[in-house]
Symmetry: D2
Subunit: 324 residues, 4 copies
């Protein structure tokens, strides 16, 4: 009695989700897949039905739940289709490209009256972030007052344009900061180094907490995400991301990965297991459509502040009861 899952999009993330469902997730069977590249889909089918049209996959009787990992621009439409079919979906971030589009999805889900969408902000399942949140919630550091985030990529992809440091990378920091602090950002101030990289973004939350985030797209030395949460009685931070240490050539230490996949492999696996269980139990978990909406809204307003020197007031709108 396993969950019949259809996977849309078989690129880097989609192929990894497919592998996780097949090799490391309990209670799920991949019954259908779909990719713009039909040949690739055929190679990965292993008995699953291959669809050329993602909407047909979503509508198919073979599919009880959907993983959306197709290009960003398609997320919103496919998420709406899942809602229309009443099927749960795990949708890769971002939920949508614009505030307006995100809002439309939220409204559709609110109209439906139950949460079917989970957005793939996988950091919420990363063991280090989970431990940080647990430490904060358990009172181990007193009331949180300040969060330091560091987000460094070895090198921005070729197709990166300026605002993508915000809309593609910083959105993760928006989501994880809201989740760690249980608060929404209300102002943002951006400082920019020469050449536009790195950015230093300071946000204030509706609880008065401060969130400081460095986003460095071309840090060169490796992919590195760090966070330290400062409370009134102590702090909790990520340990260095390494399980072994090496001595060699006058050097002690460990290596960094070149990108986010090895760093967050475990988070993606746990997210997938959790999603399958949450669908089976009918109890929504993870980042909601509202969370996806807020990340997009804040990112859009931060982008508008990129050129200015002033503090910008953020407006999120009222949160529907569904997401209380």
């Amino acid at each position: 009695m396993t969950l019949a899952v259809g996977v849309i999009g078989l690129g880097v993330m989609g192929a990894e989700h497919l592998r996780l469902l097949r090799e490391e997730t309990a209670g799920a069977t991949v019954t259908a897949i779909c990719d713009a590249d039909g040949e690739r889909a055929g190679r990965l089918a292993q008995g699953a039905a291959v669809f050329a049209d993602p909407l047909a996959l979503i509508a198919s009787d073979r599919v009880q739940a959907v993983v959306i990992a197709s290009p960003d621009a398609t997320h919103a439409g496919l998420a709406l289709a899942c809602l229309a079919q009443g099927k749960p979906a795990l949708c890769e971030k971002p939920l949508a490209a614009t505030t307006a589009e995100s809002l439309r999805i939220v409204e559709a889900e609110v109209a439906l009256g139950r949460r079917l969408l989970q957005i793939g902000y996988m950091r919420r399942f990363d063991p280090a972030y989970v431990e940080m949140k647990h430490a904060a919630d358990a009172g181990m550091i007193g009331d949180p007052v300040l969060l330091h985030n560091v987000h460094r990529n070895a090198a921005a992809p070729d197709w990166f344009t300026g605002p993508m440091a915000v809309t593609n990378s910083f959105v993760h920091e928006i989501d994880i900061s809201r989740w760690l602090l249980g608060a929404d950002p209300v102002t943002a101030t951006v400082h920019t180094a020469p050449g536009g990289d790195p950015l230093l973004i300071t946000m204030e939350t509706d609880k008065g907490q401060l969130v400081s985030t460095e986003v460095f797209m071309n840090a060169r030395y490796g992919y590195h995400v760090h966070a330290q949460l400062v409370g009134r009685a102590g702090t909790v931070q990520m340990a260095q991301p390494a399980v072994t240490l090496t001595n060699g050539s006058l050097h002690h230490g460990h290596t960094y990965p070149e990108n986010w996949v090895p760093r967050f492999r475990d988070a993606y696996r746990i997210q997938m297991n959790d999603w399958v269980r949450s669908v089976a139990s009918g109890k929504a978990a993870g980042a909601s459509a509202w969370d996806g909406y807020v990340a997009t809204v804040v990112a859009e307003q931060v982008v508008s502040a990129l050129q200015g020197a002033a503090r910008v007031n953020l407006s999120l709108g009222a949160r529907p009861d569904l997401y209380a």
Copy 2:
């Protein structure tokens, strides 16, 4: 088309194996369980058939593969029963209590002509040990010449007797040392602190490498396993087992667990996933019956050396081709 697994023994480890199979393992369904405490079995059944007799479970058509997690004294008999039925089994360590018994199992499997038994030396799946072995095998530290192992328990259980520090704890070090070094121990020297705890055991391998192991059953401060592999060009060691670090009350650092379960939770999970895949593919993996035999043989001879001050020569017998 999932693997139908029967679980024998539902104590601490058995219940964890059951949970892993149901919640975090792909491709398996628990179809039968068995425990001396029938009521406990009933509570955990969730639709699986409940057997009072483990041999009946092993023989049942509902069961394709077996997890043996019953008390240590029963392992050997159940492992032999699995071999008799031609069913693959993941058997918790130790394989057997004595050299003679272990040898009987090895001989039965050799007579069968194919590997059906995997012994639950889960450290072989621990990410830190796996990285250490990878570093060594990839030549990153030159030829390994020395291995430092530290094995500390917060407190020995009440029912622990002297030799159990060897037969219950040190066996893990025997197995992981052989696996890391690709070599067998040929001598052992034991040093004992007052009161018999901790032990310091030095082994030499058939490649001339040295293995130094501290076994401290009552280290009090926590459960802590550490290893450093020293090569002719560098070393590789476990990082501290923590994903977060905390500042509080004039202190910086992290906590230790009270026992081995949290430390090796991931290793158990990965072992289970790997075992299910290996059964499905028919390709044996993990610690073999021979490995289980060697751990028991070496432990037995080290126990005999506990009172002496001299270096003891170990004899393992010839390894059957099946385990080449």
Copy 3:
């Protein structure tokens, strides 16, 4: 042929300077001391002449060089007296309470035509900061673009008022940031947590680098200073300030001191040795009067920005050639 030093002020820092001169500094003899509490001075004299009037000490033939460690409000006047006598002085920070006062001292020294004053910004002698600067200057991290500073006190003294987080603590960050980056700040933006503590201060330098500083006066868990310098090819940061690590009571880690004295003991010692050598050689070193002036100027302008939400432009005035 040792340097005859007079020490003014024998409180916590003055007594430590006295001890350092006597026990850990080569080439110096303490020939005169002075304190508002004459009895205390008498107890610490050990053969040195005891002065009731600091100006008399400065003027005395027994004294070749002066350490000024009396209350902050007296620094400016005593520094001017040393200049008037043509005697070198190591003056505790801050140089003066106001921009105007600091400027008067700078102008007096410029009129004299040679540097006699060193300001006790001892972090410039801290081995960790020195290594960070060396790494940056040696090109090990590429061009520095961003500096993260963290300045945490266990608890603010009773007599602390709001602006003192800036004028007493943040001044250290101003000075060390200028020294590490070889650049002056040109803007400052202040974010404040509820209750006014912690502060998050972002500065931009005349090279376009960003400097982010957390000043937390009541961090409770201990005294902790941290810095990470981010370059275009890598980063360098302080290691945890500990030479040993302890396991105990389910905990791994190290302790923090309650205040700055243990953390910077070595920096004070090295500063003192260096100062004595620099006086002997006639080659000024360490933080100059100009550096002391800049720290005061920037702090004063940051204080004025404490209530505002905007980025403030800083103005330093032109640096005299003497300090090139």
Copy 4:
């Protein structure tokens, strides 16, 4: 009223001692120096009297105390000369090459009835070892039961012969182990890797504690000394020897020095300051002639055990009351 010190031997260590006395030590003046290379002595004189004959230096009225840093073979004779003149000396390790020679010096000092000799086992002044001893003495780890020492050189010097791993390197471990544990070794067992390097030496003390030491003369990756002291309630160990950490080229960590000088620079400095103060106060400190004797005795007996596989009983003789 500074101490007039004569320095014998101006090689690597002697030149460093000379520098420390002149630049980083309070209360001392170098009044005389002596080296086999007279030209070198001349270059370093800076006003000190240059002696060709070390015995003449020792006897000179200009010299109140002596630093012996000449070649190892000369230590014993010069130490005896200092005793004959009644002058305190800081003598580089080893005190003497043989048990017999060491014993002669001990007997001479006992006959004199007061301690004049301090042996340069500088690790006793290393901040990390000092903190470890403090933690043990303060009861922070319960009764110490086991000490793990690691002593790795990047490469043995050309002139190194087999036993020197013991007589030159392991002697440091003998001394520091005795000091940390407050106990003497009574047995030793040696295990040797192929080619004779590394050695693994296990000692038992007269309190039943175990001491495990790896001596690796050609560890290649750098100079690295580590120690962990295990008590019945916890452990204390050296932190990694670094004040900064670097990220670069996919790597996080720090560098090791190529030899012992940078690692123990601070220990040498503190030792020198302490020695000058102890001479001034007449209160002997540091490692005594007896400590130097014991290190030599134990090393000699461990060398004799290098080829054997058995546990060797060590005999030290009775400790004279002078060293109680």
